[in-house]
Amino acid sequence: MHRRKKILSTVIIALVSLIISCGQQADQNEILIGEYSSLTGTTATYGLSTHRGLMMAVDETNNAGGILGKKIKLLTEDTQSKPEEAATAVTKLISRDRVVGVIGEVSSSRSLAAAPICQANKIPMITNASTNPEVTKKGDYIFRVCFIDPFQGEIMAKFTFNSLGLKRAAILKDIKNDYSIGLAQFFEESFKSLGGEIVATQAYSEGDADFKAQLTALKAANPEAVIVPGYYTEAALIVKQARELNMNMPFVGGDGWDSGKLIEIGGESMNNSYFSTAFSSDDPDPVVQNFAQKYHQLYGEKPDALAALGYDAGLIMFDAIKRAGVTESSKLRDAIAATKNFRGVTGLITIDQHRNALKPIVILAVENGKLVYKETVQP
């Protein structure tokens, strides 16, 4: 009996030490940065874009000599587009790999799952594209480089009401998604305060394929515009099925629409739709054009907003490490919080006292199956 216990404990110790030694050993000449990103799953194109942007920022920084005399090493975990995987991924990055900072995620639901873990471990996290206000409320170690939904909702409400001149809007939102619910709410508030009317609201769940029932119900309310604050896969299917039901009014969305897949899936039906986003590669600004050209050389395609945000999230993290002079978490946190008028490719970025980014917004339209740059709105 005694011997058996002894063997058992030896085996357990051996296993544990094996697991520990499997973890990344921090090299003295490297700074470890963790990234969690949806490289597969329903929003795979988001994760791929932010990952490419971030890789570009890492390579550029390393080629310019690194920071604090060290090279940056990026460790990437896939979230498979699932919130529970996001929590596992950051736990792994923090407790096994011992990264000094975490970057990600695009989806607010996934960032909300990961943020409490970063906060509890006091590891600064910068989300590249989660626009739901709740994300940075999770604690003083959580930051973002994108705009927030109240701002986005307000701009899109103004755009629909003033620029398109439409007064009767209907909303079709994703009931299981924090981003979609938040954006729908902020749009509705702003639109009503402008004097507009929300004539109908319907809901769907991410992963649905059939939207005809909801669209038929919306059509009966006779809206002049339909707001779809969701992600590109569903948005494209929704607009496509709406056109089949002869609903030819403009469709309006947020930055969740910004993916090449939107037009690939929706095709010609996407014409006469508009969405707000952080970045357009058609923006004539020389900083943007320079970035767009380099990105095109590397990956053979134009960067979308998420690539640009991924790039900016990386640069802000590296800039803060440089200013902090150390990688100690509380100093790094203070340095990120002090970011002011940082010139990113998505505009001038200032982190405010709520750890949100103050920055401009871009409105794009789909015309003849192509994205067309409409306007840039300053905060």
Binding site: G41, T42, T216, A217, T233, E244, L245, I265
Partner: protein, 301 residues
């Protein structure tokens, strides 16, 4: 009123697709007395056959849309039939003399194998199903629009169900199927080759699932390796609702579930849609487990 009419059209087009999948569940249950949980994943494979073959086939036959559409569907039906028969030969046949629960659990294993094997081979991200039927409005009035996709789905499903009815009730093979379903041993004593009848049933069921997949993906053109789970479950509910083992019941159950889901989504909230579908399953199992058209069978003791 017009909204009601439109919702009915939406519901029938979804329901006729559920009905096609439900037929597969019901026929296999009728012959082997177990639920083939891998059926929804055979449906998924059908969609991917369409996804990979449609561009080549339309290039091969050129302009004719109807002809290439039929070819894509036939190819998907052929490949899924082979898959169905293979699954039966390797996973279910060796267990035929074992308790039904063993086969049932194996079926869940096959289902998981196809789902996650599919993620490995096809990739987990959703793919855009190519346009096989050009979408245009066939009926187009102020308030009612019936798209070509809905019409093709309803008409094709109806034709396939009529063909199935003919096979089961008017051919020798169908008579043999019904005999095997009635009593395995007696049918075998009458000189019916049980194995070939079971294979034939899998061919019929799987090819209907493949046809349903092509129709489903044409109406809802985003496909992924996990797409079979929910339509599979809904069709299972439809089969139980109609009376499992009963072919007319499966068709009726499919339509009822399709219409119910559409009405719940359109008039209540999509949040309740799945809850109500599964609620129907629970109610029917509690109060009339033989289903709407099924006959009551006393358990032999």
């Amino acid at each position: 009123m017009n909204q009601l009419l439109q919702q009915i059209i939406n519901g029938i087009s979804l329901g006729s697709i559920y009905a096609l999948i439900a037929l597969g569940y019901t026929m296999i249950y009728g012959i082997l007395r177990f639920i083939n949980f891998a059926h929804g994943d055979v449906f998924m494979i059908g969609a991917f056959v369409g996804f990979y073959s449609a561009p080549h086939i339309s290039k091969l036959v050129g302009g004719s849309i109807i002809f290439s559409g039929i070819l894509v569907m036939l190819l998907a039906m052929l490949i899924c039939s082979l898959l169905g028969v293979t699954i039966e030969k390797f996973a279910y046949k060796p267990l035929r003399s074992r308790p039904k629960l063993t086969v049932l659990i194996t079926a869940i294993g096959v289902s998981l194998f196809l789902e996650y094997g599919g993620q490995l081979i096809f990739g987990p991200d959703p793919k855009l199903f190519p346009t096989i039927v050009p979408s245009m409005a066939v009926v187009d009035t102020q308030n009612l629009v019936i798209g070509s996709n809905s019409i093709v789905a309803i008409v094709t499903a109806a034709i396939l169900m009529l063909i199935l009815r003919f096979i089961v009730f008017n051919t020798k093979m169908g008579a043999a199927m019904r005999a095997v379903s009635y009593n395995h041993q007696a049918a075998a004593l009458m000189g019916i080759n049980i194995n070939s009848i079971i294979s034939f049933t899998f061919v019929l069921g799987s090819s209907l699932a493949a046809a349903a997949a092509i129709l489903y993906s044409s109406v809802y053109p985003s496909i992924n390796p996990l797409m079979g789970i929910f339509p599979g479950l809904k069709a299972f509910i439809a089969a139980v609702l109609g009376g499992i083992g009963n072919i007319y019941g499966a068709a009726l159950g499919g339509l009822i579930i399709g219409l119910t889901e559409t009405f719940v989504t359109g008039y209540l909230s999509p949040t309740y849609r799945d809850a109500i579908s599964f609620g129907i399953l629970i109610l029917i199992l509690l109060f009339k487990p033989s289903g709407i058209m099924g006959k009551f069978e006393a358990e032999k003791v």
